[in-house]
Symmetry: C2
Amino acid sequence: MTGADKLKSFLEKFNLLTEAQIHEFVASFTEVKVKKRQYLVQPNFTAKSRHFVVSGAFRSFVVGDKGTDHTISFAIEDWWITDYNSYIYQQPATMFVVALEDSIILQIDYQQEQLLKKSNHNFETVFRIMAERGLAFQQRRLISNLTQTAEERYDHFIEKYPQVAQRLPQYALASFLGMTTEFLSKIRNHKVKRK
Amino acid sequence: MTGADKLKSFLEKFNLLTEAQIHEFVASFTEVKVKKRQYLVQPNFTAKSRHFVVSGAFRSFVVGDKGTDHTISFAIEDWWITDYNSYIYQQPATMFVVALEDSIILQIDYQQEQLLKKSNHNFETVFRIMAERGLAFQQRRLISNLTQTAEERYDHFIEKYPQVAQRLPQYALASFLGMTTEFLSKIRNHKVKRK
DNA sequence: CGCGACGTTGATTTGCCTCAACGATTGTGG
DNA sequence: CCACAATCGTTGAGGCAAATCAACGTCGCG
């Protein structure tokens, strides 16, 4: 399956675009190969593109004052990633986006996306729905962070995204779940005393 | 200034809609008076509407396992509020949305919103931009939760939203910032030992 | 006026972090 | 293809930020 086909089937799930529109949409994207450890976005540079992952895996993260890094999101096949705040406001990024594996992506740059949205009502709708779903997702994650213990968050993640968890380095998962790698290791090995 | 005028000037800031379109948009909303402590959304009921605050203040929150509640968001004049996850998927809510003061809101129900978005490309764009900004906002909050201490989060909030902070009960602010009321009290009164 | 909601304060506890040391695994240059 | 260095994960000891528990002051309002 080619990258274009992956994006096509992603778009088909919306049940919104015609065959021709899907073709036009996909045509605005460029396929790029990315090596492990390569960066798509870096702080102080503006995120110029939105990236759709065809194959491989990415993480976005910020580096806090003390130098520790905090994973904001992951993306594997069929997911999107960028520094969203930087991208939509076209302002300097605060995040890194880096490849965790050799990957293939399809990307669209900001100007192209604006043209696409202007050209057709349905394209606008696609981006609206993606933003809405992203927002709902973020809200669920926030609730989980506020209401659950480190161990509960880990169990929940493993249950919900088992296939993602397997492919991630521990330090990335730990910092996504808001804990240290040491503590995650203890949870995994049941070294944390339970009540 | 009437409720309709408030919403109009909110929409004008987009620089996107004509006078007539703004009128049409606003006409889809209903004005409602809400008493302090009254609920707009409750768990297990689907959030039927999206609410624009004309005057007053609201908070949305979830209740965790141990019975403690966690504030997800606030809304004062010119802000929007609902259980977003429930609203966009039209599924049962997990949150409460409650009035902190006697308030006036303008609300649109889900079906009306769909009609509005279908009727005009620019209306779709308005909702898309709102969702995008909400997502960017949530992401900044998530970063703040992951990287800052309780005291830093408090200072940051006070600095950024001084007028909001004044009007909120402490317990609501504390649970928004992810700490207990007791701890917030100690921070406010400099009872927390600093390095 | 009295009750319930809200905020404060101190004593104690705890969930998670920090620091440090050490295997295991992966990657890389010679 | 091996040797050595990074990177990654594990384990334990000790420490700290924030929670919990408990008691009490205060204010608003029915």
